[in-house]
């Protein structure tokens, strides 16, 4: 048997798969490394703010209110006389918690609902999508408020609220993804060998469908961090001893002309964080895709 076919199996270089790499090699990696450093730094800030921040975030120095960024106060001080740099460092803690956990909760629940609906289709799809539609027709803010108001405006409840309002988004995207992957040939191929549906789902469809979810998640991070600030803008938020980035932004908005630094630096922190997460997320997605690896 074996001697009949003695084809050498030298592996050939892939055809359509070699991406434009070399020319952008350095830039793309530069971004990646910078992003990783930034994210790690922010995580460090969240875990050990004491070691990094030069001041206590609650220390109010009435003598130095609204002072410009300087050697002493890198990001200036706010209208309480607090050091903005330290506030940003400490603020990372709650911001990360809100952002990451709500994205995780929302993504997992929403993704699962969407996956089920898209994969099973038919009646289940109709029912689940109705539920999702209903959820979606209600403004996120209302949902967030309702949860915050009914359960009290604690950090956990804010997270819950943000997650709840994000669920429909994940669900819809996941469903769409399901529906398109479902029709790919390899799914039919697998079905034709008698693979049960749930296995096809877990083995073939899921791994091929979550990348838009990742995208949505990395973006959702930004929105999640900000929902709290939206609530406090509307006068529905909470006041915490150590404000998160969103709250800092909200507090500083009236001072844009007088002291731009109060809200700009927390804003930059959010942007930087979200951007870095996005870049890392992209790389992550690429590295899970054998073709772009």
């Amino acid at each position: 048997m074996k001697e009949i076919v003695n084809v050498e199996t030298t592996l050939r270089v892939p055809k359509w798969t070699l991406k434009k790499r070399k020319t952008n090699f350095s830039i793309s990696n530069l971004f990646l490394y910078t992003s990783t450093v930034i994210v790690l730094f922010i995580i460090a800030c969240a875990i050990f703010p004491k070691w990094i921040a030069p001041f206590s975030p609650t220390y109010m120095n009435a003598e130095y209110i609204l002072s410009k960024p300087s050697a002493n106060h890198w990001f200036g001080t706010d209208y309480f006389g607090r050091d903005v740099f330290s506030l940003v460092i400490y603020g990372s803690q709650d911001s990360l918690i809100i952002g990451v956990t709500s994205v995780l909760i929302g993504g997992i629940i929403g993704g699962s609902i969407g996956a089920l609906a898209g994969y099973i289709g038919g009646f289940v799809d109709v029912i689940l999508m109705r539920v999702i539609d209903i959820l979606m027709t209600i403004p996120g803010i209302l949902l967030a408020l309702a949860i915050a108001a009914a359960l009290g405006p604690s950090l956990f409840n804010i997270v819950l609220a943000v997650a709840a309002s994000a669920i429909p988004g994940y669900a819809r995207v996941m469903r769409g993804q399901m529906m398109s992957i479902k029709k790919r040939k390899f799914v039919a191929a697998s079905r034709s060998i008698g693979t049960p549906s749930w296995r096809i789902f877990l083995w073939h469809i899921l791994p091929n469908s979550w990348s838009p979810l990742l995208v949505l998640g990395t973006i959702g991070l930004g929105t999640s961090i900000l929902i709290g600030s939206g609530l406090s803008f509307l006068g529905l938020g909470t006041i915490k001893e150590i404000p998160d980035w969103g709250a800092l932004l909200s507090q500083g908005r009236g001072y844009l002309t007088v002291a731009w630094w109060i809200s700009t630096f927390p804003g930059l922190a959010i942007t930087l964080f979200v951007l870095s997460i996005n870049i890392i997320g992209d790389k992550l997605r690429d590295s899970f895709d054998p073709k772009t690896r």
Binding site: A62, F80, A149, G235, G254, T257
Partner: protein, 524 residues
């Protein structure tokens, strides 16, 4: 230290000999009025708009004396329970309805009619019982109990006289179609956008506190509703509106340097922004605990950092400028953290490991409730208080909620709650500090819940006392005792601040700090 000009109750610039006629004033309000029905409104911002539409029977001058307006003269019965007003005969409502005793009777009866669902007006009209039309232009008002504040209250816009025909016609929707005798008549109100009032050409019964007694110069005033501070100020700076109220402190300083803008500022009178201790709860039922807070909170720092000294610190339950204000209380209490600690120690509250005091295993926490997010940085006060009290071992939990009705009034679920009120007469104190107010604690719990027979007695006396000097004395005692017992912690006096283009002239303010537009005009 402040830039207020409370004594002169400012007007901007001298009225020119020949002010320009015509033109439109756009005036940005900070919030949306709830109703333009004087009876049903509960918001100061609404008063600013409907003061232009409604006139009152009397007017209160800067020196707190009461002058005629729609009423030319009045007599008060000896028992102080009957007021008889003679009314002007040449006044017409904007819808053509003649102004007469019937109209006055109608206006007041309407307020006490529960169907009207009147708000603040009911309290202002309080001892009012009934009125009798003596003749077309004479009306007799009967009070249940004597009230010296009554006349002063009558000067408030919330007790302005409404057109009976219009009120009947619109019923519950009168607030959207207000008709009065004021210098401007209502034109339109687009929800959340603007309220437009137009010149009342027949007007010639301006009160004594304005110069132009006749029809106003302006063709119309558009009150734009711009809740966001930055937008409001931006709108003035960009010239989209000519004037904007409630300028935030940080902008006050910068606008002063702006060559195109002028700042008008007037202190409001009534009750300043005050933190009320909930004396129903431990340990705040103990004066020592309250005193400790009073000593530990650095109000000066608050006024300085948050308001950049553009607001002045409040010292008393009343604001300066109101009858009976006790100036001696000023600079009375000093920051004294040591003393505060000592007082708390005395109460057996000892600091735990985390620096928070505790007694019987219970941490000393102070629930700080505020119902006005985004207003005058009141939330930020909470933040500062939180930090300052942490130093003496009190943990402050802040609860910003709009649901004051249930949290504060119904459940009294707070240790400290901040509130203020614009009012023309010190009798306003009675609603806050008299132990039997309100009549049914079951529905609504009185702020603070403190009770003191002496204070009760002074307040009751103050209501009926007709001798001005004695009355002032009574209220001073009340103020002193309230501060002494540390029922409250007064924080700041709100200066009503208007940023206006330099082309705007003649905006005046009444004794309460509400703007008057009779003299207002725009330079071409």
């Amino acid at each position: 230290t402040s830039t207020k000009n409370s004594s002169s109750q400012g007007t901007n610039g001298k009225v020119e000999s020949q002010p320009n006629s015509g033109g439109e004033l756009t005036y940005a309000l900070a919030t949306s009025p709830d109703s333009l029905d004087p009876a049903r409104s509960g918001l100061a911002v609404a008063v600013r708009a409907f003061r232009t539409i409604f006139d009152s029977l009397v007017v209160q001058a800067q020196d707190n004396t009461i002058k005629p307006w729609l009423a030319t003269e009045w007599t008060i019965s000896d028992d102080g329970k009957t007021y008889t007003f003679k009314l002007r005969k040449d006044v017409k409502f904007q819808d053509g309805t003649p102004f007469n005793a019937e109209a006055v009777k109608y206006s007041f009866d309407r307020i006490i009619d529960p169907k009207t669902q009147a708000k603040n007006a009911v309290a202002l009209l309080k001892p009012y019982q009934s009125s009798e039309v003596i003749d077309d232009y004479t009306i007799k008002i009967n009070l249940a109990t004597p009230s010296t504040a009554f006349l002063s209250n009558l000067s408030q816009a919330m007790l302005g006289i409404v057109s009976p025909t219009a009120a009947e016609k619109y019923g519950g929707q009168f607030g959207k179609n207000p008709v009065g005798t004021g210098p401007y008549k209502f034109v339109s109100w687009a929800d959340n956008a603007d309220i437009v009032v137009g010149k009342n050409r027949d007007y010639h019964w301006g009160p004594s506190i304005v110069e132009n007694k006749d029809a106003p110069y302006l063709d119309k005033i558009t009150f734009k509703i711009i809740p966001e501070e930055a937008t409001r100020i931006g709108s003035v700076q960009s010239g989209q509106v000519l004037a904007a109220e409630t300028v935030p402190p940080q902008n006050i300083l910068s606008l002063k340097k702006d060559p195109n803008t002028q700042l008008l500022q007037v202190n409001t009178i009534g009750l300043p922004y005050t933190l009320f201790f909930n004396q129903r709860r431990v340990p705040w039922n103990d004066v020592k605990a309250r005193k400790a807070v009073q000593l530990a909170v650095d109000v000066n720092a608050i006024v300085k950092t948050l308001y950049l000294d553009t607001y002045s610190r409040a010292w008393s339950p009343l604001s300066p400028g109101i009858l009976g204000y006790d100036k001696s209380l000023e600079n009375g209490s000093k920051l004294d953290v040591k003393k505060a600690n000592q007082l708390l120690d005395e109460l057996g509250l000892v600091k735990g490991e985390d620096g928070i005091r505790e007694k019987d295993g219970k941490k000393l926490t102070l629930t700080y409730v505020d119902g006005t997010p985004n207003r005058e940085k009141r939330n930020d006060i909470a933040v500062i208080v939180q930090q300052q009290l942490k130093k003496v071992g009190i943990k402050v939990e802040i609860n910003i909620t709009k649901d004051i009705a249930s949290v504060v009034q119904q459940k009294a679920d707070y240790d400290v709650y901040g509130n203020s009120q614009v009012n023309s007469d010190p009798n306003a104190l009675r609603a806050f500090y008299h132990s039997t107010t309100p009549d049914q604690e079951a529905t609504v719990k009185r702020l603070g819940g403190g009770s003191d027979p002496e204070i009760d007695q002074w307040l009751e006396a103050g209501t009926v006392e007709t001798d001005q000097a004695k009355r002032e004395e009574l209220y001073k005692k009340v103020q002193q005792k309230i501060i002494d017992q540390a029922w409250i912690l007064p924080i700041y006096v709100f200066p009503y601040t208007v940023a206006a283009s330099k082309t705007v002239n003649g905006i005046k303010f009444d004794s309460l700090g509400y703007p008057l537009f009779n003299d207002a005009n725009i330079k071409k």
